[in-house]
């Protein structure tokens, strides 16, 4: 393998890892705050991609307007999803909420098949995403550069919100101790809504960028990325934002580099994610950056 080819694979791994990271953050944030695996998160990702598609194809909006509109509507959808499917079960056993999440996932997918149609749709990739960039024999599409850059911008904003604002402080408080947060007059429901909104917004960013990189949509497109990003969040240490990002990049990197170095195993690329999960769970069950909380009595 030439250096140029290796670098090309690396660039691809970087952009795939970024997409995984964007989606994994949503899993980890919701888990951190509600101890809930939001199984419908992959479908929210799908919804974001479709909304941007229709905004361009039907309403003839420019791509950037479609992008903004789609991420905002998807964020709103995430808020409504929590209100309808999870909040009424807040005090129920955790298994009930999980079943509700699985139900929500199937519902969104099947309504998607009815509304969007089961046949794959081709995405009109905006021209700026489709520029071929060459640098010393390495050539990548501009979308593969935009994705990591966008991911880091979004991540920086998110970390700023979580660590530097009062809402972020309340999020961290709610995630460690719900009742103690209530006792500080924190509106816990508002914080949970905000978390779902932010996570869904990131999933929509991921979904739309995904559709620019792999320009084809179908209503079940969220299932596999959703599953893998859940794994990425677990590998990184579920509940930790930095962990989810690390897990996403690890997963994207290992997946594409294995394909690059062991081309005969390309058919097994999805299996690597699960092998990595098993190894990490055996060695460090709390995930790479997962913390332990010591309670003083």
């Amino acid at each position: 393998m030439t250096l140029a080819l290796f670098l090309q694979h690396l660039a691809n791994a970087l952009s795939l890892g970024s997409l995984y990271a964007l989606i994994a953050i949503g899993y980890t944030m919701v888990y951190g705050i509600l101890r809930l695996i939001n199984f419908a998160h992959g479908d929210v990702f799908m919804l974001g991609a479709y909304l941007a598609f229709y905004a361009v194809a039907t309403f003839l909006l420019p791509w950037w307007a479609a992008f903004l509109l789609a991420i905002l509507v998807t964020a709103l959808f995430g808020v409504v999803l929590e209100r309808v499917a999870y909040r009424p079960l807040r005090d129920s056993p955790r298994i009930s909420v999980m079943i509700s999440a699985i139900g929500a996932s199937f519902l969104i997918e099947n309504v998607g098949i009815v509304v969007f149609g089961g046949r794959p749709k081709g995405v009109l990739v905006p021209d700026v995403m489709n520029v071929k960039l060459g640098l010393g024999g390495v050539s990548v599409m501009s979308v593969s550069v935009v994705i990591p850059v966008l991911t880091f911008v979004v991540l920086a904003i998110l970390l700023w919100v979580v660590h530097r604002t009062k809402t972020g402080m309340a999020m961290r408080a709610v995630s460690t101790d719900l009742d103690a947060a209530r006792l500080q007059a924190i509106d816990v429901n508002r914080i949970i809504s905000f978390t779902f909104g932010a996570g869904s917004l990131l999933a929509a960013v991921g979904g739309i960028m995904w559709s620019y990189k792999y320009p084809q949509l179908n209503p079940l497109m969220g299932t596999m990325p959703g599953l893998k990003c859940f794994i990425a969040a677990v590998i990184g240490g579920i509940g930790s934002i930095q962990g989810a990002v690390l897990g996403g990049f690890l997963l994207g990197g290992i997946e594409l580099l294995t394909v690059a170095f062991l081309p005969t195993l390309t058919g097994y690329r999805d299996a690597f994610a699960f092998v990595l999960l098993i190894v990490v769970l055996l060695v460090k069950p709390s995930g790479l950056l997962g913390g332990r909380h010591v309670e003083k009595v």
């Binding site: 009062k166 402080m169 309340a170 961290r172 408080a173 460690t176 101790d177 009742d179 103690a180 947060a181 209530r182 006792l183 500080q184 007059a185 924190i186 509106d187 816990v188 913390g291 909380h293 010591v294 309670e295 003083k296 009595v297």
Partner: protein
């Protein structure tokens, strides 16, 4: 004035509170004592809305609190320092105090209250940027009280503030409770350390398996034979 009437609460099939009544007059210290599982914590949690009572009402200065969400009860000046402290371990001391003032927007008032908390607990000032999880048990209790004071309470309820603390720290916490009360904050104290709780109390209630069995001025309860026998570890005279 906090008035609790006919308060009942259930956990599943367990009847934790069976119609209790108590009054906490403005400016007083009232202690609620009783054995493990008597319903002391449930009483406080019902007042602040963390437990939904099955019957009865809680009124605060004539306004019914029962049914309000906890955040609205706390922003009305009724605040609870929970059993086991429950500081946010992954947040700094500073952030814990800031969250105490979460619902307030009067910046100068918040800054003044923060200085007041540091005046009461100089130790917290030394550790202001340390994560609360790294504090000792006593320091965490100071932080829990300080955080509660940041809500600017008019009624401060404390659940077992002495639990698991060294005697010296316990004395300090009780002194602080008295100091807070002297500034006009009403205090409702729940304790297993019955002697200390009754000594500083204007009025005391004894709770047994979900019912109030005795009540009276703190000093009278300290002298009452039945209370001394059951809660103060003294044999019948």
């Amino acid at each position: 004035m906090l008035k609790v009437e006919q308060l009942s609460a259930h956990y599943g099939g367990i009847h934790a509170l069976q119609g209790i009544a108590l009054d906490v007059p403005d400016g007083s210290i009232v202690s609620l004592i009783g054995a493990n599982g008597a319903g002391k914590s449930t009483t406080l949690k019902s007042i602040v809305g963390l437990v939904k009572p099955s019957r009865g009402t809680v009124t605060w200065n004539g306004e019914v609190l029962t049914g309000l969400p906890t955040k609205d009860i706390v922003s009305r000046g009724v605040c609870l320092v929970p059993e086991g402290r429950h500081v946010f371990p992954n947040l700094t001391v500073d952030e814990n105090l800031t969250l105490g003032a979460y619902s307030r927007s009067d910046k100068p008032g918040i800054a003044a209250d923060r200085e007041k908390v540091f005046g009461l607990f100089p130790r917290l000032k030394e550790r202001v940027s340390q994560k609360a999880g790294t504090l000792s048990g006593g320091e965490q209790q100071m932080l829990a009280v300080g955080r509660a004071l940041m809500t600017r309470p008019r009624l401060l309820m404390m659940d077992e503030p002495s639990l698991g603390l060294a005697p010296l720290i316990v004395k300090m916490i009780f002194d602080i409770v008295k100091a807070i009360n002297a500034e006009g904050v009403t205090v409702l104290l729940v304790e297993q350390n019955a002697k200390a709780a009754l000594e500083i109390a204007d009025y005391g209630y004894v709770l047994e398996t979900g019912r109030i069995t005795f009540h009276g001025p703190g000093k009278d309860l300290l002298k009452d034979d039945r209370v001394r026998h059951a809660y103060l570890g003294e044999a019948h005279a």
